[in-house]
């Protein structure tokens, strides 16, 4: 085995890790045999000499294992360095190639950027509008109701929410909507409520809603009940519905919480129920639901802070409007021109890139040579 050169031994160690083990064993055995011979020269019998050698060497197995571990990690390190070197070389080569042809590089980068950007944007819209629909029953029949306020100082034609009187007017007089629900919108002062109990105080997101909102959005209680239209009047009882998430988090899913009283913004409220899991408003999470208690006798004033949600039923006018809205927001299907357009754009980008390089090369061929090949 003496004729095996060192390089081959290295290659062998790499390919067959057991050889690594053998080499270490051979190295250690060499040391031990020399120690043994020394002891024999001093007059010990071969067995005793071997034992003396082992004693002087120490724990052979332990040192062998430690050495092997070191060699293995060294091997891994060398492999890693080689990979990195190869990558670095390829990268340098590629960059040099691009640097020699700046126009080609620019076109490629721009095409890729535009293509990837366009496809990403299209997908983002599709994802939010089509692929993750609103988590409500009959979501395609839901609409927001805003009141159009022409000439308002907050930007002309800007839409505001409904006023209290506006809500009742719509509810009582419009035949277009099956249910109308309202919640105190973005300008309400207390979106965050302080929940206090014997374990301390914390802030939770809350919303004041009309009982009809639960009907409009198809909300259900998983424990207890939701508050009713009778409770949703000025002077009605102080009740609250907890979200499922809050119920699990703070009360450990204990059904006994229904009927108990919690302090919300330092006001006691009776818990009448727990909302089904996953129920939320379209634009926010809510942990405590309290009745909005709108006053039917309110005069129409300019506090347009209610957002209304309704289900379209179908008189011609409402039907046309809702159809239009549906078409704009929801009628995006796989066979829709928009989706087809996106796919076509992607194919175009890929095709352009693929043909760019051959085109470049073809342009460089001497016309005389090309003709001669005929």
């Amino acid at each position: 085995m003496d004729w095996i050169p060192d390089r081959y031994r290295e290659l062998r160690s790499r390919l067959w890790p057991e050889r690594l083990e053998e080499d270490i064993a051979e190295e250690i055995e060499h040391h031990l045999s020399l120690l043994t011979e020394e002891s024999i020269r001093r007059g010990l019998a071969p067995d005793a000499a071997r034992r003396a050698a082992l004693e002087r060497f120490g724990d052979v197995e332990r040192y062998r294992a430690a050495t092997r571990a070191i060699d293995e990690s060294y091997l891994r390190k060398r492999r890693r360095m080689e990979h990195l070197d190869a990558i670095r070389r390829e990268l340098r080569h590629a960059l040099r190639g691009l640097a020699c042809n700046p126009s080609f590089a620019t076109v490629t980068v721009l095409t890729l950027a535009l293509g990837i950007g366009a496809v990403t944007a299209i997908f983002a819209v599709l994802h939010s509008v089509v692929l993750s629909p609103l988590p409500y029953a009959e979501a395609d029949r839901l609409v927001y109701i805003d009141s159009h306020v022409p000439g308002s100082s907050l930007g002309s034609g800007r839409a505001w929410g409904l006023s209290e009187a506006g809500y009742f007017h719509f509810r009582d007089n419009s035949r277009a909507f099956e249910h109308i629900g309202v919640y105190a919108g973005a300008f309400a002062s207390n979106v965050w409520a302080n929940l206090t109990d014997d374990r301390g105080a914390r802030r939770v997101p809350g919303m004041a809603v009309s009982a009809s909102l639960f009907d409009a959005l198809g909300a259900r209680a998983v424990v207890g009940r939701l508050f009713t239209a009778e409770e949703d009047r000025p002077g009605g009882p102080d009740v609250v519905v907890l979200s499922h998430d809050l119920w699990q988090r703070e009360y450990g899913g204990d059904p006994a919480v229904v009927g108990s009283t919690i302090m919300l913004n330092l006001e006691p409220r009776e818990v009448v129920g727990v909302m089904a899991p996953g129920f939320r408003l379209p634009d926010r999470r809510v942990d405590v639901w309290v009745p909005l208690r709108l006053n039917p006798a309110a005069r129409p004033v300019n506090a347009h802070y209610l957002a209304a949600v309704g289900i379209g039923l179908g008189i011609a006018g409402a039907l046309v409007t809702t159809r239009l809205l549906r078409a704009l927001l929801f009628e995006v299907s796989p066979t829709d021109p928009l989706t087809l357009g996106a796919a076509a754009a992607l194919l175009l980008v890929v095709g352009l890139l693929a043909s760019l390089d051959p085109a470049r090369r073809a342009a460089r061929v001497d016309p005389m040579l090309a003709l001669r090949a005929e």
């Binding site: 003496d2 031994r9 190295e27 040391h31 120690l35 011979e37 002087r56 430690a66 050495t67 060294y74």
Partner: protein, 109 residues
């Protein structure tokens, strides 16, 4: 007498041994023993993890060769990096030893 060595010190002694030329593990152990007049007797197996670790760090390289008695043995050689390492560690050790001596030689009260 058998003194316990810290791992870093063993590395330094091995590097110094190899300045005399390529050696295998047994030869290194004998040289250290001889230099210290038998005062330092290391547990000889501990040389091998140390040698392989120093090889991984690039201070020494190894090569298979034929030893005195016609057996195959792995010979270790010092690299330039190893030489630099030896210089650095020797300097540190000298400063350390000098500082300790200063403390020990302080005038008793």
């Amino acid at each position: 007498m058998r003194l316990e060595l810290l791992q870093g010190t063993l590395d330094m002694l091995v590097l110094r041994a190899l300045t005399r030329g390529p050696m295998h593990g047994y030869a290194i152990a004998r040289w250290i023993e001889e230099r210290t007049d038998d005062a330092l007797r290391i547990e000889e197996g501990s040389l091998y993890p140390a040698l392989h670790r120093m090889q991984k760090r690039g201070w020494i390289v190894s090569q298979w060769g034929l030893s005195e008695n016609n057996r195959r043995a792995r010979y270790y050689t010092l690299t330039p990096a190893g030489r630099k390492q030896l210089q650095a560690e020797t300097a540190t050790w000298s400063r350390f030893a000098a500082a300790v001596m200063k403390v020990l030689e302080a005038e008793p009260a």
